[in-house]
Symmetry: C2
Subunit: 388 residues, 2 copies
């Protein structure tokens, strides 16, 4: 507890935009997020009052950071599993706990653990290049090779076309020490995501199912609710996420990324990935849901009762803002133009230097008509990216 306020201190390992936006939510709850950042330029370090510096792979730094925290939680998946286990063994309340988090850190562990819980693409672990060739010959080419650990935003995922490419690519990655799995390339209709939050008490709150639109492996848009999703499929997706959260004992936010498919299993859904933290596919909740995923994550890890997850408008679209070409116009000027063009667009900038392709923020637009809202969000993101 913070003696100045009588309210809890949540420590978040990692100082990126997720910590930055979690701090915003913490302020409303009377708290001040404690952040473990790498540098003073980290997005959260620019705005939070209680910033400590240290490397998330350094157990001593994590130990020092955890002192005085009521709960320790995470902005990313890159804290070594054994360090989290060590902290927990020393009595630090860590949420999500390592026995859950491991399935967000390690795709092989996740695929193994979910095999009896959820529909998934065909997959197998990779120890040798031959494993990939055998798998591709069996399920059909191309196949998807994935780093079991450390991938994000399209990194750590490789589409492999045939046996020769598989052999070369896999040999190179094994040589580099990358742990691998291989998956069938699913013929998907579209990608969906469900956010749920679970508290230590076991309360689970599920958000409406959303559609996530990817381009080159990076999420560019999230549509809430997922347009024209049959009610039965939406309920099945939410139930799947709730079942996973319960079975794995997740505490905090869980994002389940799904493929909507024809003819795989009976459900029309297969699980792609899990994240156990506020997630890009849930940024729309800041304005679009009664409780944002950031507030919900805090409520969950602190074992507060969960907040309402209902939509605040019939149609909500979040569009990521990537750094664009330097068109001689500063981000501040672009913001002026965007605000003039659309007074209703809500902007979230992460305090990052603009670099081409870098995720520097997002915009959210709310309204009654999904097509209209989607066009406005795309235009707003383009203003911030290109200044026109």
């Amino acid at each position: 507890m913070d003696p100045r306020t009588g309210l809890p201190v949540v420590g978040m390992v990692g100082g990126g935009q997720l910590a930055r936006m979690t701090h915003q939510a913490a302020i409303a709850l009377g708290q001040s997020l404690r952040v473990l950042a790498l540098t003073p330029e980290d997005g959260a370090a620019l705005v939070a009052a209680d910033v400590r510096y240290g490397d998330h792979t350094d157990l001593a730094a994590l130990r020092t950071f955890a002192k005085g925290c009521d709960v320790v939680t995470f902005d990313h998946e890159h804290v070594p599993t054994e360090h989290i286990r060590a902290l927990a063994a020393e009595g630090v309340p860590v949420h999500p706990g390592v026995d859950a988090l491991i399935y967000a850190q390690d795709k092989r562990a996740m695929r193994e653990r979910l095999s009896t819980l959820a529909p998934m693409p065909a997959w197998q672990p990779v120890n040798l290049p031959e494993d990939v060739v055998e798998f591709g010959d069996r399920v059909g080419w191309p196949v998807v090779l994935k780093a079991a650990r450390g991938g994000y935003d399209g990194r750590g995922v490789w589409l492999v076309s045939d046996a020769q490419e598989a052999t070369e690519q896999t040999a190179r990655l094994i040589e580099a020490g990358t742990p691998l799995i291989v998956e069938e390339r699913v013929a998907l209709r579209r990608e969906l995501a469900v956010q749920v939050a679970r508290s230590p008490f076991g309360q689970v709150a599920a958000y409406p199912v959303v559609e996530t639109v990817q381009r080159e492996g990076i999420c560019v848009e999230v549509l809430a609710p997922a347009p024209a999703l049959p009610e039965a499929l939406a309920l099945r997706a939410q139930q799947l996420a709730i079942d996973i959260a319960n079975a794995l004992g997740v505490v905090g936010m869980l994002a389940v990324e799904l493929f909507e498919v024809d003819g795989v299993g009976e459900s029309g859904l297969v699980v792609n990935e899990l994240a156990m933290r506020p997630h890009n596919s849930g940024h729309w909740t800041i304005e679009g849901a009664r409780t944002s995923q950031f507030e919900q994550h805090l409520r969950a890890v602190l074992d507060y009762p969960m907040g309402e997850t209902t939509l605040t408008a019939p149609a909500v679209v979040m569009a990521n803002v990537l750094g664009g070409p330097d068109g001689g116009m500063s981000i501040d000027e672009r913001l002026h133009h965007l605000f003039a063009a659309d007074p209703g667009a809500k902007v979230h900038l992460y305090g990052k230097q603009v670099r081409p392709g870098r995720k520097i923020g997002h915009v959210t637009v709310l309204g009654d008509d999904m097509e209209d809202v989607r066009a406005r969000a795309a235009r707003a993101a383009r203003w911030l990216r290109e200044g026109k």
Copy 2:
């Protein structure tokens, strides 16, 4: 400009809850509010990254603080007028400027300035106790004696019943050096408020008119929109606020507190007070309007185009949370109970130690039916105050 982000640095003098909530809004805009606080326990100092310490009545401290700020603005009205004038003369962009702000700082100046602009209660300046007696005998007893400067939340306002009380009370206040005005006690139906924002460019955005419910001089509830307010009266109130903002050259948020009355002037409205900053009567905008008053204040002082001011729900109620009796239950426990009782209530705590009667936060509830929403907001505030 902050070289790390390419975005502007707004400095806010004063570290209370208004600065705290403005910092939250600044984060979304990619900024980090620079705060001039008195102590590390100030609400904003607990959560902001860029906090400087100094007294707002110390010109040297203000000068140091202003260095590197793109704009300087205010969390309260207590910065000496001559200091603001000095800063502006030295080239510091100060918004609102002193020629506007004076009318929020000084009730006598405000009444004089608005005399040709807006309907107002009968009033007159007070130099001697006899002035009050003469005024009361003329307009009728009781009358309202007000400190021309420095009052808030019911402080600096005295209801005076007759000539004898007027003489004693006024003599005592004059003796203490309090500058005074006296006003008729208006037979009001209810209190209303309008928020508008104005930019240096001259763009003005008006929020829907709200009803403010006071108890013992302290605002306890704000209802948005003001229930059963005739459209014509609502438009007149908004136009009045826009006219005042333009005439005074306000930059930033302006809150115009109004009395709805019978038979005073032709408008059915008289102006009670002005505030030129985010104001308690506008806290409902955080969830209840598309653009919060805190974001709007930043946009205005930075000369960004204004954001949309439309309601996000048909009925929005903000209830202030006052510190209650110590019922053996911590604020954290009370929060648990509130969240269990109403998962949709939005809480804003200011990081203050709980003391009876102290404004420690507010709650906002949104919905379709004003009576229902109002009951929920009152109950939520009671949970946080009394734990039951």
